[in-house]
């Protein structure tokens, strides 16, 4: 259906500027073939009745979130995606008819409190599919007071669509000032390392000169993204209300030559598993082979999802925290079949000797042997360091989720993999302005605030910077009194 191999290398751009917001030059021929492609695709055939066809060329659904302020049309956009992909069934559609008009926003705000207030409170998950792919939308609220819910949705997302409301900007200016929410949402998405970000400039049907508006707003988005170091996959003009460029393309509108938002989403990559790192395996569940008479290979299997690297029979491993070493005797996949298992997959690991291992421990790669210097002596050679050195003092970026503020000196429970340790807030280095990520002094972190914090752990953990590993660099803090999930922790 499509010939795109790499979205990163492709250019979805307003033809007027010849540049997309990431500053990548547009390739006109490529872009033109896209339009032809989308017109010939099944989606534009109105008689197509496949409501939720399963995917044909992607293994897992694309999880994406939609970001935007209240009234930017986020719920309308999601409603449009669901209705135009025929994912909304008749009984649900009937539930959102008001005086004969369909209110798309009502499709997503499911809770009675949300309908009362006309806003979205918590993340909802929506499902739809095209012939090319299945999708899960994490529908996160736009209100600043619900930043925690956006962080929740973003932590699992493969992509984010940041909605920009054209009617709220001074689009006649060559470089319009963006709304704080656009900056805030983009920076949060960037902070959480959501792999793909797409800007959707909405409500262009409601401005006098949509082509000029899109060109100017795209330029402002590109300038902001460059300044913040954010890679943008695409910038697309849409009208969620009219359904233009959302599912069905509208060739040439706003001088935009490129695929619709849905077509862009169909091409985005899933989050890559961290297979190129040394093995890190958090032990989730220990299975005792009580009935097994075979004692040669140990009598327990350790199950869990591989955080990083690859588990292979024969590999030497070390157990954290005991430090004991062993070799992998056997690896089982999630369904108990023998094989090699890589990051992102559940596995069972059997070791070649009996070692005391519990839930919460880690099975880690051993460091490669250090090459000894043939000219010198080996007396001063250091002990081989672990590829995942354990740390007790963590420098973190924390998004605070709880109503009770984070205060220096308090002790929380921290979860890393399946391991719980106590963590004391050593100091709040500074707070971050959630609109700009600029630093400022702070004595506490209020709900929805972000800051740099030093945590002192009761016992060390094998961690890695979040920028290097989303699996080893992510933790949560839990209030010891209320058991509430209080902080999202990203290791710096």
């Amino acid at each position: 259906m499509t010939t795109i191999n790499s979205v990163a290398a492709s250019a979805y751009a307003p033809s007027a500027s010849g540049q997309n917001s990431a500053g990548i030059s547009a390739e006109a021929n490529f872009a033109n073939s896209e339009v032809k492609d989308s017109q010939e695709s099944g989606r534009s055939q109105k008689d197509l009745k496949i409501v939720n066809a399963p995917p044909t060329d992607h293994d897992a659904a694309l999880r994406f979130i939609t970001c935007g302020s209240v009234d930017d049309g986020k719920s309308t956009l999601i409603g449009r995606l669901l209705v135009d992909t025929k994912a909304v069934l008749q009984d649900h559609l009937a539930g959102v008819q008001r005086q004969g008009e369909t209110d798309l926003a009502l499709l997503t705000d499911g809770l009675s409190a949300e309908r009362e207030q006309g806003i979205t409170i918590d993340v909802a998950y929506r499902y739809f599919a095209t012939e090319a792919r299945k999708f899960i939308i994490g529908d996160a609220p736009g209100h600043e007071q619900y930043t925690r819910n956006m962080v929740t949705a973003a932590s699992q997302a493969d992509a984010a669509v940041v909605l920009v409301d054209a009617t709220k900007l001074d689009w006649q200016s060559a470089l319009p000032t963006l709304l704080p929410q656009t900056r805030r949402h983009s920076l949060l998405v960037h902070l959480l390392r959501v792999p793909s970000l797409v800007f959707a400039v909405n409500k262009l049907d409601a401005v006098a000169d949509p082509a000029l508006a899109f060109t100017h707003i795209s330029a402002a988005l590109a300038a902001f993204a460059k300044e913040a170091g954010i890679t943008v996959r695409a910038t697309v003009p849409i009208s969620a209300l009219k359904g233009w460029n959302v599912v069905d393309g509208r060739a040439g509108w706003c001088d935009y030559i490129g695929p619709s938002l849905l077509h862009i989403l169909e091409q985005l990559p899933n989050t890559a598993p961290e297979t190129d790192l040394p093995l890190a395996f958090p032990v989730q569940w220990v299975e005792k082979f009580s009935n097994s008479s075979d004692t040669t290979q140990g009598r327990r299997a350790f199950w869990g999802r591989i955080a990083a690297g690859l588990a292979q029979p024969g590999a030497e491993v070390q157990v954290f925290p005991s430090g004991q070493r062993a070799r992998v005797a056997q690896v089982l996949d999630r369904t108990r079949q023998p094989g090699d298992v890589a990051a992102g997959q559940s596995a069972g690991v059997v070791l070649d000797r009996e070692i005391d291992i519990s839930r919460g421990d880690w099975i880690l790669a051993t460091a490669p042997p250090i090459q000894s210097d043939p000219q010198g002596d080996d007396f001063d050679a250091p002990e081989p360091a672990s590829p995942w050195p354990a740390q007790t003092l963590l420098s973190c970026t924390i998004t605070w989720l709880d109503e009770q503020p984070l205060v220096a000196g308090r002790v929380y429970q921290l979860l890393h993999g399946h391991r719980w340790v106590k963590a004391r807030v050593q100091r709040i280095v500074h707070g971050l302005d959630i609109h700009t990520l600029a630093e400022h002094p702070a004595s506490e972190l209020a709900p929805n605030a972000i800051g740099h914090v030093e945590l002192q752990l009761q016992s060390p953990l094998p961690v890695a910077p979040y920028a290097r590993s989303r699996q080893l660099g992510a933790m949560i803090l839990v209030d010891t009194a209320s058991n509430r999930t209080a902080g999202a922790v990203l290791l710096r």
């Binding site: 399963p54 995917p55 649900h92 809770l111 009675s112 998950y125 925690r148 949560i476 999930t485």
Partner: protein
Amino acid sequence: MNARIDTITLSQLSNRHLDALEEETIYLLREVAAAFERPTLLFSGGKDSLVMLRCAEKAFGAGRIPYPLLMIDTGHNFPEVTAFRDLRAKELGAELIVRSVEDSMARGTVRLAHPGEPRNVHQSVTLLEAIEEFRFDALIGGARRDEEKARAKERIFSHRDSFGQWQPKDQRPELWTLFNTRLAAGEHFRVFPISNWTELDVWQYIEREQIALPSLYYSHRRQVVDRRGMLVPVTPLTPPRDGEQVQERDVRFRTLGDVTCTCPVASLAATAADIVIETLAADMSERGATRMDDQTSEASMEKRKKDGYF
């Protein structure tokens, strides 16, 4: 049926995405086994719970599911489903705990407004009594987020207070796959390992794995009355009303619950493969087409969940 759909054969449908769903479900089933002291798996004999059981067999090995199965019996079950439930539990060597709404009625903890009232809503009382009796700290359920709009908002690990209540405005954030399973005394979790599956995924999985289901899921002839577009089954509990014409139709159930509020749909689908094709073409949701109790008000599911319903 649409001509386009007729041209799709099952061999053209990709099943590979089912591996990712199965992976997630197995991971969650193991997490419950490891993180809680007294978990249980709610097992009705319905298709969703049978899909979960297949994943549990893979997660723990055949015959080694490390938690008991729990059924809350309304006394309004289709006998085919109850029989299938008992057979399947026996085959798996699993412990099956059945607690019934009628026992709660005998104790006086459930009082019906009138004898024929649907008992679905009263299951909550019996469920909470069972939780207290066995001190369960995690109850695994087969609910899916695509079923209903309140479900779409619920976390995979859904915290419940000592009254079993769900607080939609005060849910624990669920970040990455780091699940905060800490509990205070008297509280518990409801856990939904197939949250991210859709009705179609479930049927594709049943077809791929050749999972046996109660016969009522497949086309059979049944006496029904057409009541406001729904095919209400004629049973001793749901007799025809005055003036209603009893018809014999080819039907199947998309969902199986309390006899008094579950309706079949007209269908000739005799295999899981047929149902996959039919689900692709469906223009009504599973609940909209079949459940009378969800239509009383816009927020009926939300309200019932706040009261401790699954």
